[in-house]
Structures are given as C-alpha cells and as structure tokens.
Amino acid sequence: MSAAPSIDETVRELLRSRAPLARDRAALPDELRLGAGGLGLDSIALVELLLDCEQRFGIPRPVELLEGEPLTVGRLVAHVRAAAGA
C-alpha cells in the first residue's frame, strides 16, 4: 500500500494544476513566488489556488496570507501545515 501524499506534495500538485508555468518545472522550491517574478499567477488565480487548498484540506483562507510579504511556495505550504494542524 502506498503512503498518502504529504502536505508538501499535495500543495505542489495543486500548484501545478493551477499554474501553467509550474507544470514544466522539475522542482518548485520553497522560495519560488506564486505571483509576478515566479509562477505568474494573477489575482484571480491566486485566490482560486487558496480555494483549492480550502477545499482539499478543509482550512480557512485568511486574507493575511495575501498581504505583506510575497506569497511563496514555502509560505503557502507552511500556512496549510499550520492550519491543518500537521
């Protein structure tokens, strides 16, 4: 029996399904930005990604995640981990 995918893997899988620029990349490092200068997700796609996470993990999508520092792969994974209590 194979192990369930980790939060890390699942978030990256959601990213690949939402961001065309993520599909061809072998790795999605923690410091990679989700918006401009990184995966290029626009405002609507960023919120849709948070909706994906909400639906997949049953966690809230706080607006604070989008305020302040640029949202990166690592920040998103850390948020999901903390909110999911993993």
Binding site: L41, D42, I44, L66
Partner: protein, 280 residues
C-alpha cells in the same frame, strides 16, 4: 486668448466651483456642467462630433455635437464633484442623490457592477442606503466611508489585488454586498462587443459572480434635475465569465444608446482605441 491660457482659465474656474460645491453643491455642480459644455464647444477637440458619430452613427452631426458638448459638461461636473468629495467628504453630496424605491429591497449576497458613465462618483451616498454590509473595490480612495460601508483599493500588484478579491469573496460569502467597476481593467480582462467596437471588461466581477454564485446587478447614476438619480439594471446571471461579460456589455450598450451623453471620456477613449468589429 491662446489655448493654454484658455485651459488655465477653465481650470481656475473649476477649482473655484469645487470650493463652492462644499457649501452649495447643486448650483456649483450645475455651473460646472455649463462650463464644461462651453469648454467643449469652444475647443472643438475632445470629444469631437465625428468621434461621437463613430460610436453612434444614427446621430446627425448636430445631435452628435450636442452629445459632445454634454460629455464636456459631464466631465467637468464629475471633476468638480470628485474634488468636492476629496475635500469635504460625502456630506454635501448626500442630499443630491436619489435612490429608487427598489434599492432598499435588494437582498444580499449581491454583486453590484458600476461603469464609468454618468455621475459615477455620486454613488457613494447610495451605497450607504444598501440594506446590509457593503464592500466597495475601487482604484484609489476618494473618501473614508462609515460602517457598514468599507472601501478597499485595487491599486498595487496582483497579490494586493488578490487580497482585495479575497475580501470581496468573503463578503459575498457572509451575505453582504460587493460593489466594483466592471469597465476598468487593472488585471486580466474579457473582451465583448459594445457599440460596434470591442470593449475590454475587467475579469474580476465575473470571476466573483462565478465563484460566489451570485448575480451581477448593473448600478449607474445619472445627473438629472439638479441632482443624481441612481438606477439599477436587471440582474445578470450565468456560470461562464465570458457569457456574463457579453451580457453586461450588451446592457451597457443599451444604456449608452439611450443616453449617449452619459458616456465618460475614459470609456469613450477605450472604445475608440479598438478597431470596429465586423457587421456594423
């Protein structure tokens, strides 16, 4: 008087009217409209009757000229109104704004889409009369609203706009009103035919309607009888953003065919920036 001196004279008059509007809004704004009307008539530049006829070919040259002069008046009145709100808040404007009887009967969650037509800056007092919490998204802030109205700016990069979008989605989810412009494109846009041209509408309102599963209701304000009449359009529903955008553009087209002099200069400029679509 040369053109530059004329422009400075008109600007000085408008500035004086903006100060006057804080104390006597109705006469100051009516005078601003007359001033803008003459400014367009004398300058014969922008918009020109020929440009108006490009979008409204059924108008005669003289009717198009009157529309151009009226648009000059509309713009001047709106500039003075915006300056008045910036300096004095909504206080002087509230008594001028009339909302229809069905306004207070609107039930959230609901998305209200505005356009840069008519007295767009005068919508602030109308939002205060909506029966529920209101979140307005706009580019830049003209005034600080009082609860239950909240304004979030859409200025900034994609992530900052995502934060505004997220707030709007949450507000709709909790049973509130969200108000935002449909015809300004700070992010990605959707193209739809309008007045024989291609109009790019902002994708945000249609994505919100799809994600929150709420209808979009057109909301406009017209300068009428020394004040402002607020009007609502029929709700526009659908699951596909492009279908919603096309229906919204059709609504705007009908509105402008009925009231061509309500066309704002920014919207006119954007409509004229596209080549005519085939078949018209």
């Amino acid at each position: 008087m040369n053109r530059a001196a004329g422009r400075q004279a008109f600007q000085a008059l408008e500035s004086g009217l903006a100060s006057l509007a804080a104390r006597h809004p109705a006469p100051a704004l009516s005078t601003a409209a007359t001033l803008g009307w003459f400014r367009n008539l004398l300058s014969r530049r922008w918009p020109a009757p020929e440009q108006i006829r490009t979008l409204f070919p059924h108008l005669t040259h003289s009717a198009a000229a009157r529309v151009a002069w009226s648009i000059g008046g509309l713009e001047a009145r709106n500039r003075v109104l915006a300056a008045c709100i910036l300096s004095a808040g909504l206080g002087p404007v509230r008594p001028l704004v009339r909302t229809p009887p069905d306004f207070a009967a609107l039930r959230p969650p609901l998305l209200l889409g505005t356009f840069h037509v008519g007295a767009v800056h005068a919508l602030g007092p109308a939002l205060e009369r909506l029966p529920g919490p209101v979140l307005a998204l706009r580019h830049g802030l003209l005034y600080s609203p009082d609860p239950p109205v909240e304004i979030v700016t859409t200025e900034g990069d994609d992530q900052q706009r995502a934060a505004a979008f997220q707030r709007a989605l949450t507000r709709l989810g909790s049973g509130g009103f969200v108000v935002l412009a449909v015809d300004v494109v700070p992010g990605s846009g959707l193209q739809a035919p309008c007045l024989g041209r291609t109009l790019e509408l902002t994708r945000g309102p249609f994505a919100l309607a799809r994600l929150a599963k709420v209808p979009l209701v057109p909301l406009v304000a017209r300068w009428r009888r020394g004040g402002v009449d607020v009007e609502l359009g029929e709700p526009i529903s659908g699951e596909e953003e492009s279908v919603l955008a096309a229906a919204t553009a059709r609504w705007l087209e009908r509105y402008l065919l009925d009231s061509p002099a309500d066309l704002g200069l920014g919207l006119l400029r954007r409509l004229l920036g596209f080549e005519p679509t085939a078949g018209r």
